[in-house]
Subunit: 442 residues, 2 copies
């Protein structure tokens, strides 16, 4: 593991493997009798590593990074050894209380006051689904028993993550009851358009119940105007959920805390330490000022799990779908302690600085254009010209094996997207990516 | 870790800690500056371990066990180091293909033929919710767009896991549209009562859509008559989902494969390797013969995640709520290879044998009565007499720190429940538990 992490840059970021290749290299049945660990580890090296996409590679600049920091891995190892299941306080006081402590630390590190209820889910998709379920419970408590919920309407921007729509579909809200509010020229939800949509739906006898804003959208990391939207949510009594999966981490640097302005007024808020906080997947932190409502949406305690009630003994199973619960807080606790708030801020500040430098270089190159503002560490740009040219440019760059960039569509144009967030990435890796892009363009 | 695992029996199973004690022992903020790893590990030893419930303790016989086997932990360590996110085939071919391979191995190890689509979720609760969502998609495809779904009805037994009801609530089916079918004297769903309930609902204009059966219920490990129920599901065209979270593992021993008879006819089936297959939490395996329907329920691919389509390149994000995906298959692959099918069967066979021995001992003791059949490794029993006496008996036994048993309610009576499933448990530990129960009873 140490050797791999010290040298993760020596692998091609994307493996040279074809669909089905690993499947075809392995038998169709488990072995009848046990094998020595040496044989298993040899196969791991021989078959698994060469088929891996190396998210730890310092040239991984696709999607949003996740990086396996040393302390994060150590935390995960110890969690696996203790192997507790924190469904109830009683089944693991250490897990349940460290989850609360660590989430409070993270909350305060982002510059917020107070200590709302926090709970860890696997991914932001799952966490957002729970937030929307709480919103439904607040607006239409009869749905828990009766089902259905005709006419509930959810609002989010056309740039929000697809998981919001998926959450609404899963919960039985219905895809056509998700209003995708248009964005401004900088890809931020338009409060005027939101207000109009809500009024239109109310006039039509529908039931607006939830607004989901994004701080750091997936395509461009644009930041919705949370304060103006919180005003609208307040006027209409709607649940306000904030998806800050990627960008929340930036607030560990005080000079970027302004991006969360207004979020303290939200009913629920999420951020993903497994993105830009150097914590191995999976760990999405959901906060809510209304744990009573989240609990009302999900609590269903059967007799065999009933324990005597102490108000300080939190039973997390009452706040969501999963009953079982891994000890995920430990890895984040290790990361926060090992680097400290200031140590993390320094890394994040550097990532943002390198992205800003790249943005200026792109702006200075006549062949390219930036296709969105660069508020944080993600740069969207394109070669001036046809989509096809950009598509083949990306293919060529990624074929180098040195970097992995992804793409997105903005204003119906194919754009390249370079996101910095890996703890192993340096300024040189970013500059090398730019060099590869320039060479390929030539 | 090695020292802890070799000596996990030296801790009290349940910690001597009060709610809030760990929270009060820690500061309210993350440190501003980084700390040395030695200080962090010291706090781990000093504060976390003493507040842990030791699921690895060989005397852990509450709920259903989960145990951290050596190969399982090594797999989890390597997963944390690689730290891949397998949302798409492209983002980690190794993860996606090993998930398919390992789930096929597990499927065949349980004695089934063929190779249905398999996907890993965190817990059975989440997996069942996805199965029910697929059932909804099959019966009422209009719900995806429209929401609502008035009148859908789900059938399960009054002994099924609470997660089924929670799944239906989450999906907007409504708690009152979950029919809890009565059980027979051995806690198995009554097919006659099921058939009548479906006919009654159809006559009332409602829309039956899903039956959930359990192989190994949580309270008593009773096994629903799957074949008879599959006939009913077939007659009415209903989705049949099997929850074999605990008991599926028993089928690795051929002489217990009969418990899964009929399950090959189900539309979906789940089992939890993180219960009785010596795989650290979390890993719940969901299988379905109808991946097309599961996919139709959840697929929603945004542009920035679109990759060129190859029929062998599975994009797991299209089959469920979570977008992110840890490399969970690796730990199960390690376990299956290290022990082999036969090696695991031997351990499971021993567990069942010790439970049968204990059942005979309880039957031979006039003071006690068994309160349910003991088909597998879980024994339900009580002291003849008042609930209060049993409650205080359990408290006394658990206060020993040597074992941890849980309880359940059967026929409105408080019962003790001893479940064997930890890889470190021996016959002596089970006998010691029985000794503690007898002493406390005296």
């Amino acid at each position: 593991m140490a050797d791999y992490l010290a040298n993760s840059g020596r692998y091609p970021v994307l493996p040279h493997t074809k669909p089905g290749e690993l499947i075809d290299a392995l038998p169709h049945c488990a072995p009848e009798h046990g094998e020595p660990m040496s044989a298993i580890l040899e196969d791991f090296q021989r078959l698994i590593v060469p088929a891996a996409t190396h998210w730890n590679h310092p040239g991984f600049m696709a999607y949003f990074a996740t990086s396996a920091s040393g302390p994060g891995i150590l935390g995960e190892m110890l969690s696996a050894a203790l192997n507790m299941n924190g469904m109830l306080w009683k089944t693991s006081p250490a897990l349940v209380e460290l989850e609360q402590v660590t989430l409070e630390w993270l909350w305060r590190s982002m510059g917020f006051a107070g200590n709302p209820f926090g709970i860890i889910f696997d991914t932001a998709s799952t966490a957002s689904m729970h937030a929307i379920a709480a919103a439904r419970e607040m607006a239409a408590p009869e749905i828990r028993a009766e089902g259905n919920g005709a006419g509930l309407v959810l609002y989010t921007s056309e740039q929000s993550h697809s998981s919001i729509e998926k959450g609404a579909i899963t919960l039985g809200i219905g895809q056509k009851n998700v209003r995708k509010i248009p964005v401004d020229a900088e890809f931020r939800m338009r409060p005027d358009a939101l207000a109009k949509a809500i009024e239109r739906d109310r006039a039509a006898g529908l039931r607006p119940f939830c607004i989901v804003v994004t701080v750091g959208t997936t395509s461009t990391t644009s930041i919705d105007p949370v304060e103006a939207i919180a005003d609208i949510a307040g006027q209409h009594g709607l649940w306000l959920h904030v998806d800050a999966a990627y960008a929340g981490a930036a607030a560990l640097a005080p000079e970027f805390q302004h991006i969360l302005k207004g979020c303290e007024r939200a009913d629920s808020f999420l951020t993903n330490p497994h993105k830009w906080l150097f914590t191995p997947v999976d760990l999405s932190a959901l906060y809510t000022r209304r744990p009573d409502i989240l609990r009302r949406a999900f609590s269903l305690v059967p007799e065999y799990l009933r324990t005597a009630d102490d108000p300080r003994a939190v039973n997390y199973m009452d706040y969501g779908v999963p009953l079982g619960r891994r000890f995920r807080a430990l890895k984040l606790w290790f990361v926060l302690r090992y680097y400290g708030r200031a140590g993390i801020a320094e890394i994040i500040r550097a990532h943002i600085g390198w992205a800003q430098e790249l943005a200026r270089q792109i702006d200075a190159d006549q062949r390219f254009e930036r296709t969105a503002p660069t508020p944080l560490s993600t740069v969207c740009f394109r070669l001036k010209g046809a989509d096809e040219a950009n598509r083949s440019l990306l293919e060529r760059v990624n074929a180098s094996g040195e970097v992995f960039l992804s793409h997105t569509m903005l204003h119906d144009q194919y754009c390249l997207r370079l996101a910095i967030g890996n703890i192993g990435t340096t300024r040189e890796h970013v500059q090398r990516a730019w060099e590869l892009v320039q060479t390929a363009a030539r």
